[in-house]
């Protein structure tokens, strides 16, 4: 087991090269820090943000990240719509969201400043790459005068740095082309920010050398840029405050790593194969923001996973269904528009009663909508969006790491109940990073799959105590059978158009899905015991809601929070829990879809808190609503 940066090293201020000037600096100690990097989509912002987060996380801090990038791959330089950003909040206490008011903002050009400055705290630190504040770029960003010089940023602690120029000077003897030198500037910025946050560089240098192992001259140039950025922080006259977060260790001992929601889904597929010994088949078609799952899985064929990039969304789900018929653990990954296309095949999976896991990484809709932004607006589509009476199980993940556990549970439900299961994640948690302790295989709930092999008395729709029919692998002698989209006799599985039989099958399929809730663990109610207000959330809004509830309680308000993973069927104890509270508030990144489900099922009045702005719910705003109701 590799042991790298131990928490004890936190706060280590030794300079990486050892020869840099030692100067006394004031170190500001905070409970948590929120930092955002912003620049052109080609500036390497996502890389800088990811590297920074990793470095912070390896120090043993909790982090939550929020990458925010434009739909265009390389939008025209310097434009407002081409701004890409990456935000991270870290603390030694639990972190639920990537934060709101920024402590530090790093902007690589005027457009990035324009788009992000309103989120910086008064007195917050603004690092700006002055080289890009040219008349042309200022005009593109809509500035009439240079904000770095006209005093309009006086309420912030402005650190103007000629990142491009300093980087170029540092690398003038590197032998690289001007273009390649320019590409190193994000490492200069990273070095500077790591200095600002009191981090040691050793590990980052090692990583750069590994990352560019095939191109040693690029690796060394990036290392030089990194060291120069760090050194600039040390010698910089204008600046005398560094950030540090209290380093009291709260973490359970174990091995830790950070993971995004999309990678967590991929790890769940691997784990399902490992636990059951069955092949996992992923049929998928590229779609933002779900594609990274496929990217992760294609690298893992030596884990008994076959990944298939299909010709379209329909072929993605259909190939998975074919694999499910063949006895594999089958999944397809997609986002809203792809879900719409997969609808008919999910109906076929419900009708044929085959296990199928459909992972919908929700994004802004309708139609193409906001491909790179988050939303929770596919809930009703997941629960109801098929022709006919077609119930399927629907589960939702609350955080990046929870994507792992939720996806694994989806496979357990799918195979136990012989049903499609829709897993709802979202663009927020799919791309965000969360740090967690790595589970051991023994820590996970057991997962075993049995196929029927006994031909005696086999009838296709004979059901067990869970109302599930038997799963039979083609290739099993004596069990040859036909299934399909036509309604079938409730026992033999022969095609049937009999009305009474259809009524029975419709009700049986519904009862089967309803019965899944008997397996759910009791809901956990967080917050105050004496609360009269219950906040009910689901999926990726967990962080925002938990943080808002925590802050409200700290401020003396009584409020409780219950967060749902299971959306269909709903948990059995939810109705009784809701009865205990006078007021129910349901915050969602949609116009009230869970509210619809809860009103319908429990005949309760529900207050909604609904924002559809393509980003996580704002804690401060939600807190105001909570405190108004509590």
């Amino acid at each position: 087991m590799v042991e790298k940066n131990k928490p004890a090293e936190r706060g280590d201020t030794s300079s990486p090269a050892g020869s840099l000037l030692e100067r006394p600096h004031r170190v500001e100690s905070l409970e948590s820090v929120v930092i955002r990097f912003a620049g052109d989509s080609g500036d390497g912002i996502q890389l800088t943000g990811t590297e920074f987060s990793k470095s912070i996380a390896t120090g043993g801090y909790e982090i939550v990240t929020h990458p925010d990038y434009p739909a265009e791959i390389r939008a025209p330089l310097g434009t407002l719509y081409g701004v890409s950003a990456y935000q991270v909040k870290y603390s030694n206490n639990p972190v639920f969201t990537s934060g709101e008011a920024l402590d530090v903002l790093v902007v690589m050009n005027p457009a990035a400043l324009k788009m992000n400055i309103d989120d910086l705290k008064h007195g917050g630190t603004l690092v700006a790459n002055t080289a890009t504040f040219t008349p042309a770029n200022l005009e593109k960003a809509g500035y009439e005068s240079n904000p770095l010089k006209d005093g309009s940023l006086a309420i912030y602690r402005l650190i103007p740095i000629d990142i491009s120029g300093l980087n170029a000077t540092a690398l003038k003897d590197s032998g690289l082309s001007r273009k390649d030198i320019g590409r190193c500037k994000n490492y200069f910025a990273l070095g500077f920010v790591l200095y600002l946050h009191n981090r040691s560089l050793n590990q980052e240098i090692e990583k750069v050398r590994t990352r560019f192992a095939g191109k040693p001259e690029i690796a060394e140039a990036n290392v030089t840029a990194l060291l120069s950025g760090y050194a600039y922080g040390e010698v910089c006259e204008v600046f005398d405050t560094r950030y540090t977060v209290s380093d009291e260790v709260n973490l359970t001992p174990g091995t830790y790593n950070s993971i995004t929601g999309n990678r967590a889904v991929a790890m769940a597929l691997v784990t399902a194969a490992k636990q059951t010994g069955l092949k996992v088949f992923l049929g998928s078609y590229p779609i933002t923001p779900a594609t990274d799952i496929l990217h992760n899985v294609v690298k893992l064929p030596n884990f008994n996973i076959t990944a298939f990039q299909a010709e379209d969304e329909i072929a993605g789900v259909c190939s998975a269904l074919g694999a499910a018929f063949g006895g594999s653990l089958a999944a397809t990954t997609t986002s809203g528009p792809g879900m719409a296309l997969k609808t008919e095949a999910i109906g076929l999976a419900a009708m044929t009663e085959l296990p199928l896991v459909v992972i919908d990484v929700q994004r802004g809709g309708p139609s193409t909508g906001l491909p790179t932004k988050t939303e929770q607006s596919d809930l009703l589509q997941a629960v109801y969006g098929r022709n006919g009476e077609c119930p399927v199980a629907v589960v939702a993940a609350r955080s990046p790491i929870d994507c792992f556990h939720t996806t694994l549970e989806a496979f357990r439900i799918a195979t136990k109940y012989m049903t499609p299961v829709i897993v709802l994640t979202d663009g927020g948690i799919a791309n965000a990073t969360e740090v967690g302790r790595i589970p051991r295989l023994d820590d996970l709930p057991p997962f075993e799959v049995k196929f029927r092999t006994d031909p005696n008395g086999y009838r296709i729709y004979e059901r067990n105590e869970n109302l599930a029919r038997a799963w039979v692998r083609p290739g099993t002698p004596g069990l040859e059978h036909r299934i399909g989209g036509l309604e079938k006799d409730a026992l033999s599985g022969d095609v049937s158009v009999d009305g009474a039989n259809h009524d029975k099958m419709v009700r049986t399929r519904a009862a089967k899905i309803d019965g899944i809730s008997k397996d759910f663990a009791p809901l956990v109610i967080e917050g105050s015991e004496e609360a009269k207000l219950l906040v009910v959330g689901w999926g990726g809004t967990y962080g925002s809601i938990a943080e808002a509830v925590r802050q409200s309680i700290a401020d003396g308000h009584a409020v409780a929070h219950v967060h749902l993973r299971h959306l269909n069927p709903l948990p059995n104890d939810l109705g009784e829990i809701m009865e205990r509270y006078e007021t129910i508030l349901v915050p969602e990144i949609n116009l009230g879809q869970l509210s619809v489900l809860l009103r319908n099922k429990y005949l309760r009045e529900i207050s909604g808190f609904n924002r559809v702005e393509g980003k996580p719910l704002r804690v401060s705003e939600l807190r105001n609503t909570i405190e108004g109701l509590a």
């Binding site: 091995t255 030596n302 259909c318 002698p477």
Partner: protein
């Protein structure tokens, strides 16, 4: 239950108890019979056959086959079959489809399956009409044909399934007529033996909505002058008296007489189903009545790696490089850290 020995399998083993519900006299009966006759001869255990179909009259066929089967949704059978075959390479996978199912709603899956050369047999029952929805024009309906949705005659130019397949590099393409039992059976046997995607287009008469559309090539009195039987390595000769042939004139095929002494068999094109060049097969696929005889038999049969093999060799390369995946190492990740 006693496992049935492969060599003892008969047509009866592949019949189901379901009443066959095609219209009496439908060409589909003949196809069903030939399929049931061919399967026992292939040396494949009964339990290893899987039939996947879409929607339409033809797609009911799996219900009448006592094999593993799925009657799926419109146009998607090749996609479902692809997932099945990739995850279970040892199965013999068959797709049963029609002209609407394969070429209209399912066109995308149809072409991509052949492009990848997934090892499956596609039986395309082409009746040039929508039967189950009662008589609308299909992608193969001929120009000018009156149907329920083309009351003044079809203005849609028809697709030629074999041309389309060849443009996708299909490794096996053949055509037969539903009631030409001997020829149909031979072709099904060859399709089953082929590794990769085999497309068998079967001209199938829908005597309710499009009766007689294949009369010229199915009627015993007419067919010899209107069709040409493709034989590998043989010159393209046809006619009741075998007195006509196809020769290449520049870049175009033309029908010539062998009776007037001007041309002999030596002047004719020789059929080569094994050439890697698809050009000859392509212009054969464009030959239609009345200007040309319609080719029957195997247009193309070439050996190329099929998709499943490629997937498995790619997997083997990764496994060879990295060894079997280790779950603990993967889950831990490259840059994990320990908290004590």
């Amino acid at each position: 239950m006693q496992k049935i020995q492969i060599n003892d399998l008969t047509r009866k083993d592949f019949e189901t108890s379901q009443d066959v519900r095609w219209c009496p006299g439908c060409g589909d009966y003949s196809v069903l019979k030939q399929v049931q006759l061919v399967l026992p001869t292939l040396g494949i255990p009964k339990e290893n056959f899987a039939f996947i179909s879409g929607i339409g009259c033809s797609s009911r066929l799996p219900y009448y086959m006592d094999t593993y089967g799925m009657h799926s949704i419109h146009g998607r059978a090749p996609a479902i079959a692809t997932g099945l075959k990739l995850s279970r390479p040892e199965l013999s996978v068959w797709v049963v489809t029609g002209d609407g199912d394969a070429l209209a709603i399912g066109g995308n899956h149809f072409i991509h399956t052949m492009r990848r050369n997934v090892d499956m047999n596609i039986i395309l029952l082409n009746n040039r009409i929508y039967g189950l929805t009662k008589g609308q024009l299909s992608p193969t309906t001929q120009l000018g044909r009156q149907t329920k949705t083309s009351p003044v005659g079809s203005i849609d130019r028809p697709v030629e399934p074999i041309s389309l397949a060849l443009s996708m590099g299909v490794t096996f393409a053949a055509r037969a007529v539903d009631i030409d039992q001997k020829n149909l059976r031979d072709i099904l046997e060859r399709a089953a033996a082929h590794k990769g995607t085999s497309l068998v287009e079967i001209y199938q008469n829908c005597h309710i909505f499009n009766d007689g559309t294949f009369e010229a090539v199915s009627n015993k009195k007419l067919r010899d002058d209107n069709r040409i039987m493709l034989e590998h390595g043989k010159p393209l000769v046809f006619g009741k008296n075998r007195d006509k042939g196809i020769r290449l004139n520049g870049m175009r095929p033309e029908v010539v007489s062998l009776a007037d002494g001007k041309y002999t068999e030596a002047d004719l094109l020789v059929h080569d189903e094994q050439t890697d060049c698809t050009v000859m097969a392509y212009f054969l696929s464009r030959m239609h009545n009345p200007d040309f005889p319609v080719p029957m038999g195997v247009f193309r049969a070439v050996a190329e790696d099929c998709y499943g093999q490629s997937v498995r060799s790619a997997e083997a390369i990764v496994e060879g490089k990295r060894g079997p995946g280790d779950w603990d190492t993967l889950i831990r990740g490259a840059d994990s850290w320990v908290v004590e």
